[in-house]
Subunit: 307 residues, 2 copies
Amino acid sequence: MSWTIIATWRMALEGVSKGAELLKENGSASEAIEKAIRCVEDNPRYGSVGYGGLPNYVGEVELDAAYMNGDTLGIGAVAGLKDYANPVSVAKKLSEDRFNIFLVGAGADAYAHMNGFERKNMLTEAARDTWKARLKEVNDKNLSPYDGHDTVGMVVLDSASTMVAATSTSGLFMKKPGRIGDSALSGSGLYVDSEIGGATATGLGEDIMKGCLSYEVVRLMSEGLAPQEAADQAVQAFSEKLRRKKGVAGAISLVCANKKGEWGVGTNVEFSFVVATDQDAPQVYLANLENGKTVYRVVDPSEIEDK
Amino acid sequence: MSWTIIATWRMALEGVSKGAELLKENGSASEAIEKAIRCVEDNPRYGSVGYGGLPNYVGEVELDAAYMNGDTLGIGAVAGLKDYANPVSVAKKLSEDRFNIFLVGAGADAYAHMNGFERKNMLTEAARDTWKARLKEVNDKNLSPYDGHDTVGMVVLDSASTMVAATSTSGLFMKKPGRIGDSALSGSGLYVDSEIGGATATGLGEDIMKGCLSYEVVRLMSEGLAPQEAADQAVQAFSEKLRRKKGVAGAISLVCANKKGEWGVGTNVEFSFVVATDQDAPQVYLANLENGKTVYRVVDPSEIEDK
């Protein structure tokens, strides 16, 4: 049976490779996606997810994550979680419940604590130095502080035809305390239905949530569009609508896969992503917008700067 | 020019009446919806919104609200806000920003404080008594504590063809601290596009967010469905999907209006709502599911229990 794992950004490569190993041995989508995202969360090199994630304006690392089960539509999410090692695992546990599945702030911390999740000081020395330098720059030059908002998001189909999606991020660098983007929001940051397919987004969360883009892509696939058409159509049409209605569209990138394991990508900026399937070993791709359409090519991972 | 204001639950009647007065004098949708929702927030009789809202499991009133501008798609939202009188006004102010538009927990409190919003102890004596009694009942009888989750949500079209939507709620009674439902989530609790129409939902937020129902209703209206068809089709189809995939569907009710001022309602439980238009004075309706379809009739407000 076929399986597919697709993820946002080059930083997902090592995690996707681990997930693919599991999927190859008929492991479950649920296990593969959690392992893959934890791998990104645990790596301090990536400044926008988990350990080493860049802090908010007052120097706190606030983490958002979500998990969705495409068989049951079960969703779990946390936002503004502080100092727990693996937000995606907290979200996954919440997705098993019927009530109280989305927890924020101190309530999310309390839940993680009561359920025995690993505490960890998530602010690395490198992240603190980056924050201090940015704070100085913002104060000296009166800059807009916001920069960087790269969510790791993944969609997985396993050999038993179950699909899941999940996200994890430290959110917008220099955000106001308590700020949530799209990553934790079902329909915006992620959506999956095993009978159709799944999608996950990254970019300016404030704009992605205005279009419910992950839901829209799954819906377009349900009408018969191939994943590539669905992703590109949703991202380009919504970017155009934002420009028309608001004058400006933030960065929006999205990956998706359908229940057959076919995948697609849509973006309005340069965007790297990672795919592995039962046919293809894990590879990094670079996507760009050319003449109003998303085009992509395989690249050597070393071509893409880690961040 | 025509105008319409539609709102969830009988508790919206007084607010809708005030909003209708403004709309009649060519007031803006933005002003009308804020005034109407503040009226519900300020009334201590309503145990699920604002002052007098029922607290979470540990006795804290945690408030969620959102505001969406259908001209610009600007969204603002707060969740887990404590002890501010009018969450909808905080959400509305956030909707004017490009970044940091959705704030949760202590960060939402800090923003409201810095921006001069009115502080108020939102836990009334009556709400505290209800909470204490429920806590005792839950402990004595080992009940599931959750009960009551009635969001006030409104969609407004003004005579200048601007549409807005907004929500406000204290969320699920006895919720875990930090729990968010659908009310603050764009696409789930509310969605509006002045070129099409708007929708807002109430019921079990954990289930509503699995279907992005407000977005879906607006999308169905964009395909040419009348509001009544769009609302009913979305609610019934998704309830059926939940029963098939999860075995159970929570309460889901939704009201909507299109850019012509036509309105609709969809529900899978008994549900009251309020409508006023340039043709009709404010009236309370009671909707029910009969033979798989939503039916409704005008009722005397005294027939419906305030809560």
